[in-house]
C-alpha cells in the first residue's frame, strides 16, 4: 500500500520534472528557434561565472526576475479572481499529464508498474475537459483585471474555445472508433499493431485527417500564433495586460506547459505513444523474419525515451508554426472552426465508420 503511494509519487515527480523542465527550456528554445529562423543570434547574455552555454541560463534569469518583481493587482479589479487565474492556468495545463502514458508496463521485483500516473478509464474526456477548463483562466484573468483590453482578450478566448472545442472532440472520436477505447493506455498499446504486417498502426496512419484536425484544434488550445487572438500583442496587448511579476510568469509558463501537454496528447493519440516501430516487449523484431531479444528494463527505457523525443519533436514543430504564420481575425477563426473544421471532423467520423463497417 505504502509502496504504491511511493511509486505513484515517484512517477509524479518524474512527469513533473520532465514537463516543467521542458517548459522552461521551451522558453529558451522559442527565443533561439525564432532567432535561427530570423537570422539573429538570440538569447545569449545571461552568464554564470562567465559560462553562457548558449543562453541556457536565461530561463533561470527570467524566473528570478519575475519572482522579484512587484506583484500588482489592479485596484478596481477583483483581487481574489485576479490571483486565482494564473494558478488555474498552470493547474489545468499540468494536470493533463496525469493520464498520458509514457511507457509500457514495467515489471520489477514481481510488481507491475504502469508508466502512467492515473490510468483513468475516461482518459480522453479528462484531457478534453481540462483543456476546456484552461480557458477559464483566461476569461477570469480578463474579467478580473478591470481593463477593457483584457476584457476583449478574454472574450476572444471564449469565442475561440467554443469554435475549437467541438472540432477537437469530434476529431478524437475517429481515434476512439479505430482503437475501441477511450483509455489512453489502451490506445497507446493498440498502436503497437501492424497493418499488412509491417506498417505501424499509428493514429496518424489510421486517422490522417483526424490528426490534422486534432493538431490544428490543439494548437488553437495553446493560444499561440496563428491562434493567439486572446493575446494579440499588437492589437489588444492581451488578457494579461494587468499582470506583473510571477503571476504573469505563471501565464507564460502555462502557455509553454500547454505546448508540452498538447505535444504529449498528440504523441499518445496519433504518434504511437511510447511505441517504437519494430520493437515489442521481447526486443527488436521484424514481423515474420527475426527477433533480437533485449532486456525488459532497457526496452521500457527506450520506449520512455522515444515518448520524450516525440514530445520534443512536436514542441519544436509548434515553435516552427508559431514563427511562420500571421494571426487569424476572430470572426475568421470562428468561421474556420465552425464552417470548416467541424464539418470535416464529422466527415472524418463518417468515413471512419464506413471503413470499419466494410472491412
Amino acid at each position: 500500500m505504502y509502496l504504491d503511494i511511493i511509486i505513484t509519487l515517484i512517477k509524479i515527480a518524474i512527469v513533473f520534472g520532465f514537463v516543467l523542465n521542458v517548459a522552461a527550456i521551451l522558453s529558451w528554445a522559442e527565443r533561439k528557434q525564432s532567432a535561427v529562423m530570423q537570422d539573429r543570434i538570440g538569447a545569449n547574455r545571461a552568464d554564470v561565472l562567465g559560462f553562457r552555454i548558449f543562453g541556457l541560463f536565461h530561463p533561470i534569469a527570467d524566473t528570478i526576475k519575475m519572482l522579484t518583481k512587484e506583484d500588482w493587482v489592479p485596484p478596481a479589479g477583483d483581487a481574489f479572481v485576479h490571483t486565482m487565474a494564473p494558478f488555474l492556468a498552470l493547474f489545468t495545463a499540468l494536470v493533463v499529464f496525469a493520464v498520458i502514458p509514457f511507457g509500457d508496463t514495467l515489471h520489477i521485483a514481481g510488481r507491475d508498474i504502469p508508466l502512467q500516473i492515473a490510468d483513468l478509464n475516461v482518459g480522453i474526456l479528462f484531457i478534453v475537459a481540462f483543456g476546456g477548463l484552461g480557458f477559464y483562466s483566461v476569461v477570469l484573468a480578463g474579467w478580473s483585471s478591470e481593463n477593457k483590453y483584457s476584457l476583449l482578450g478574454s472574450l476572444r478566448a471564449a469565442a475561440q474555445l467554443i469554435s475549437y472545442e467541438l472540432a477537437l472532440g469530434l476529431s478524437i472520436v475517429g481515434i476512439v472508433m479505430v482503437y475501441g477505447s477511450i483509455e489512453l493506455d489502451d490506445i497507446a498499446r493498440a498502436q503497437g499493431q501492424y497493418i499488412l504486417g509491417f506498417i505501424p498502426y499509428w493514429g496518424i496512419i489510421a486517422q490522417p485527417l483526424g490528426f490534422l484536425l486534432f493538431f490544428t484544434a490543439a494548437v488553437a488550445e495553446t493560444k499561440r500564433v496563428p491562434f493567439d487572438l486572446p493575446e494579440s500583442e499588437s492589437e489588444i496587448i492581451g488578457y494579461f495586460t494587468e499582470y506583473s511579476g510571477m503571476k504573469f510568469g505563471a501565464f507564460w509558463m502555462g502557455e509553454f506547459i500547454e505546448v508540452v501537454a498538447v505535444a504529449g496528447v498528440v504523441t499518445a493519440l496519433y504518434f504511437g505513444g511510447w511505441q517504437i516501430p519494430f520493437v515489442n516487449n521481447q526486443g527488436i523484431f521484424f514481423p515474420g523474419l527475426f527477433t533480437i531479444p533485449l532486456p525488459h528494463v532497457l526496452i521500457v527505457l527506450l520506449q520512455v525515451a522515444a515518448f520524450g523525443l516525440k514530445v520534443l519533436f512536436f514542441c519544436w514543430f509548434m515553435l516552427l508554426v508559431r514563427w511562420t504564420l500571421p494571426r487569424f481575425r476572430y470572426d475568421q477563426l470562428m468561421a474556420f472552426g465552425w464552417k470548416f473544421m467541424v464539418p470535416l471532423a464529422l466527415l472524418n467520423i463518417l468515413v471512419t465508420g464506413l471503413f470499419m463497417y466494410v472491412f
Binding site: D39, K148, Y149, S234, E235, W323, P326
Partner: protein, 402 residues
C-alpha cells in the same frame, strides 16, 4: 429575426468606449483613436493626431535656410533623404539654379534607396502587426544593408543622414559604391523572394488584408491622398512621372497600381515599388556621368575648407554664408516644390522675403491626408483590423504632425 430583435430589446447593451493609444504598441505613442465598440465591431472612430507636433514650420522660419536641412531629416525619418532633397530643391528653385547632372543622379539613387528602406519597414511592420514577426525581421535585415549604403555616402545612418546641401550634396559617392549597392540589392531581392513566399499567397495573410481598410479612388482623391495609398486604388499618380524632377524623365520605370484600394493591394504596390526603385537605382548607377556634385555659385555653395584657410575670397565667402544676417539669401519670391516621398507627394512651399531665413515654410506631409481618411476606413470593421490598416498608412509622426 423577430426573436433576435426582441432579445436585443430585452438585453440592454451599450457601446464600449476604448481609447487606443497613445500608449499602445501599434500607435507609435503619437496617435490616439477614440473607439466606440459594439463587441469587436468599430461603431465609430475618432482619430486624434498631434502628439509629435514639434512646430517644424515655425522652427524653420526662425533658422537659416541651411540650418533647416537637419529638421527635414526628422520629417519622415524612415526615408529622410527624400525630405532633404525636396527641401533643397525648393530653395534651389527660389534661386533659379540648376544643380549639376551628377548631383541629380546621386539624388535619384539616394532617394530610391530611401524609398526602399521605407517600404521595407512598412511592409514588414504590417506583417508584424498581423503576427508574422519573422517577415518583419527579414525586412529589417535587408534594410540594414541599405542603411550601410547611406552611412557610406552620408556618414549618418538611416534616420538622420543630412546628406543634402543647398545646391548639391555633401560629397560625391564613395569609391566602390556601385558594387556595394548592387550587392545590397541582391540581398533585398532575396528577402523579397522570401517574404513573397511567406505572405503573398498565405491564406491567413490574404484573408486578413484583402477587403480590409478599403478606400475608393474618388474618396482617396477627395482627401488629397497620394503615393502608394492612392495608387493602390488604381490611380497612377506619381510625382516622379507626373512632374518629373531630377532625372526621373531619363529613367525607365513603371508605376505599379492596384485595383481595390485595400490593405492587400497596398502591400502588393509597395512590394512592387521596391523592385522598381531598385531598377531605377541600377539604371542611374550605370548612367551616372562624372563631374561636380555641387553647383558652382558663391551665393549658395560653401567654399571648400582648404580654400577657406588659404584664400581671402573663400574666407569672406564662407563668412558671408554663415554669419547671422547674411547667409544663403534667395531672391524674393515663393515656390512650391513637390517630390514623390515614400508616402506620397511631399511638398515644400517656401516664401522668401530676401532675408537669410524663410518668411514662410510650409510642408505638405502626405501622411496627414491619409490620416484624415483613416477613421472612415476603420469604421464598421473589427478591432483587429485597425492596427494593420493603420500600419498600411505608414503614418510617421514626424511627418504627419510636423
Amino acid at each position: 429575426m423577430e426573436k433576435t430583435a426582441t432579445l436585443a430589446r430585452e438585453l440592454h447593451t451599450r457601446e464600449m468606449t476604448l481609447h487606443m493609444g497613445p500608449s499602445h504598441p501599434a500607435m507609435h505613442g503619437t496617435i490616439r483613436i477614440f473607439l466606440e465598440l459594439d463587441g469587436e465591431t468599430v461603431v465609430s472612430a475618432d482619430v486624434e493626431i498631434g502628439y509629435l507636433h514639434r512646430a517644424f514650420e515655425k522652427t524653420c522660419e526662425n533658422r537659416t535656410y541651411h540650418q533647416a536641412i537637419i529638421y527635414t531629416d526628422r520629417l519622415n525619418y524612415v526615408s529622410p533623404l527624400i525630405n532633404n532633397f525636396g527641401y533643397a530643391m525648393a530653395v534651389e528653385k527660389l534661386f533659379g539654379v540648376d544643380v549639376p547632372e551628377r548631383c541629380k543622379y546621386i539624388r535619384v539613387i539616394m532617394s530610391e534607396i530611401c524609398r526602399i528602406t521605407d517600404h521595407l519597414t512598412n511592409v514588414g511592420a504590417t506583417a508584424m502587426e498581423l503576427g508574422a514577426i519573422t517577415a518583419f525581421l527579414y525586412m529589417i535585415k535587408a534594410r540594414e544593408t541599405l542603411w550601410k549604403l547611406i552611412e557610406e555616402a552620408a556618414g549618418g545612418r538611416g534616420v538622420t543622414p543630412s546628406y543634402v546641401r543647398i545646391g548639391g550634396v555633401k560629397d560625391d559617392l564613395p569609391v566602390g559604391f556601385t558594387d556595394m549597392a548592387l550587392n545590397a540589392f541582391k540581398v533585398v531581392r532575396e528577402v523579397l523572394q522570401e517574404v513573397h513566399g511567406l505572405l503573398t499567397k498565405n491564406r491567413i495573410f490574404v484573408d486578413r488584408t484583402k477587403g480590409v481598410g478599403v478606400i475608393t479612388s474618388e474618396e482617396a482623391l477627395s482627401y488629397g491622398i497620394t503615393g502608394p495609398f492612392l495608387r493602390s486604388t488604381g490611380v497612377d499618380y506619381d510625382v516622379r512621372k507626373a512632374k518629373p524632377y531630377m532625372v526621373y524623365d531619363k529613367i525607365n520605370f513603371d508605376i505599379p497600381v492596384g485595383t481595390n484600394g485595400d490593405n492587400y493591394d497596398r502591400y502588393l504596390v509597395r512590394m512592387e515599388e521596391i523592385q522598381q526603385s531598385m531598377r531605377i537605382c541600377e539604371q542611374a548607377l550605370s548612367n551616372m556621368p562624372p563631374g561636380p556634385v555641387k553647383v558652382d555659385d558663391p551665393r549658395i555653395t560653401f567654399p571648400c575648407k582648404k580654400d577657406v584657410y588659404t584664400k581671402m575670397e573663400s574666407l569672406i565667402n564662407h563668412f558671408k554664408l554663415f554669419m547671422d544676417g547674411h547667409g544663403i539669401m534667395p531672391p524674393k519670391g515663393e515656390v512650391y516644390q513637390a517630390v514623390e516621398g515614400a508616402n506620397g507627394e511631399l511638398g515644400f512651399y517656401v516664401v522668401s522675403d530676401g532675408s537669410g531665413r524663410p518668411y514662410r515654410l510650409r510642408c505638405r506631409g502626405p501622411c496627414f491626408m491619409i490620416m484624415s481618411g483613416l477613421s472612415r476606413m476603420i469604421k464598421g470593421g473589427m478591432v483587429a483590423d485597425i492596427v494593420p490598416t493603420f500600419g498600411s498608412v505608414n503614418m510617421i509622426g514626424g511627418e504627419c504632425d510636423r
